[in-house]
């Protein structure tokens, strides 16, 4: 290597050596500095993206006055009216065209229905809660947890420090959703604890985590729900509430949507500890039936306070006081129109 300056060496390398290009050494420090500079750029970009996305979430959330206007709409009344209209028997000759239209609009697969003859459904409500053929949804026995319904996954993951997410980035509290823990507490009494503490009191085994999974049922989906695991249902809590729409767009818009709406929370235990399944009502689908709970009445006329609830203890009605044992895939309840 000729003894020349760095610049000349580069110039000479390209000019003089012509076709026989040679490697030009670059000091290690320069290379390292360049990598650092590149990395710094990436970090800055990433932080900027994160900042923008959290601002985006805040921007697209409904303000309190927008929620108040939405609350002022008579959605519960509309929902009950919708239920009554759909419970009116459809004349025999109109059943096929009406239900066929519904089937086309919401992409229902009639070949999966236990009864495929549309004329046998007396009204749209009966058609809406139609049963499926036993072979239509084979049970996956290899998994610990199976889907309790047909639906779209809105969100899933760990529950952290007592906070849940209805969609990515839109949070609400576990405590607000499930209501206070019942032990040593009278019905309706609200004893607030920190969100973190609330979560830690739910888990029963050291080293376990709390997980959540939210499934949205679209209008054309099968609207019955089944047991996602082998578990024992010990307790039911019914929250009368609002009946906002729960479609994914609204879930991205209203924070705490599922804590505002009418819902039925079933709580109990499975092999790994705490287990709960909650059916959340919506405007069109405001009533919830639980097959083994005749006392439960949802979407009823009358005033309610936000957050109030009615409890029912299933351990008191079973012979061994354990609660109601259900197996993976067992039918539990259904949503109804109105």
């Amino acid at each position: 290597v000729p003894k020349v300056s760095w610049m000349r060496r580069i110039t000479k390398g390209f000019v003089n050596y012509g076709r026989n290009l040679k490697w030009v050494p670059i000091p290690l420090g320069v290379g390292f500095a360049y990598i650092c500079y590149q990395q710094y750029g990436h970090i800055k970009k990433r932080e900027r993206r994160r900042e923008l996305s959290s601002n985006d979430i805040a921007d697209r959330l409904a303000t309190q006055w927008q929620i108040n206007i939405y609350k002022a709409l008579p959605l519960r009344f509309v929902s009950r009216l919708w239920g009554q209209v759909n419970s009116v028997d459809v004349p025999y000759g109109l059943r096929k065209p009406i239900y066929s239209l519904y089937t086309r609009l919401f992409n229902c697969d009639l070949s999966e229905a236990l009864v495929e003859d549309l004329t046998t459904y007396q009204n749209l409500s009966a058609f809406f809660r139609r049963e499926l053929k036993p072979t239509a949804r084979p049970l996956d026995k290899s998994k610990s947890l199976v889907s309790p319904c047909d639906g779209k996954v809105l969100h899933f993951g760990k529950v952290e420090r007592g906070w849940m997410e209805q969609v990515k980035g839109v949070t609400y509290t576990l405590q607000g959703f499930l209501g206070p823990k019942t032990a040593n507490q009278q019905e309706g009494e609200v004893k607030q604890v920190s969100n973190d503490h609330f979560q830690s009191r739910l888990t029963t085994k050291a080293g376990n985590r709390l997980y959540q999974c939210i499934l949205y049922l679209a209008p054309g989906d099968y609207h019955r729900f089944h047991s996602p695991a082998d578990w024992t249902i010990k307790h039911r809590r019914h929250f009368p509430g609002l009946l906002f729409s729960v479609n994914p767009g609204i879930a991205r818009w209203i924070r705490g949507l599922f804590s505002l709406n009418e819902r039925v929370v079933l709580c109990g235990e499975w092999e790994h500890g705490f287990f709960s399944m909650t059916a959340v009502g919506a405007t069109n689908v405001g009533s919830i039936n639980i097959y083994f709970d005749e006392e439960l009445r949802t979407n009823k006329k009358g005033k309610f306070k936000q957050g109030e609830y009615r409890d029912h203890d299933y351990t008191a009605i079973t012979r061994d006081s354990a609660g109601i044992r259900v197996a993976k895939g067992d039918s539990i309840g259904e949503f109804n129109l109105g």
């Binding site: 949804r137 610990s144 889907s147 319904c149 996954v153 959540q212 499934l215 049922l217 996602p228 729960v246």
Partner: protein, 32 residues
């Protein structure tokens, strides 16, 4: 309408889908 599951499980519990996926009744959604 919506179904919300909240449950306790060991740390290595894994969901077998992604947000936005369609799931069908009785299909496996998580395992240990």
């Amino acid at each position: 309408s919506t179904i919300v599951l909240i449950f306790e499980a060991p740390k290595d519990f894994d969901f077998s889908f992604r947000p936005g996926d369609k799931v069908r009744l009785n299909a496996g959604i998580g395992t240990l």
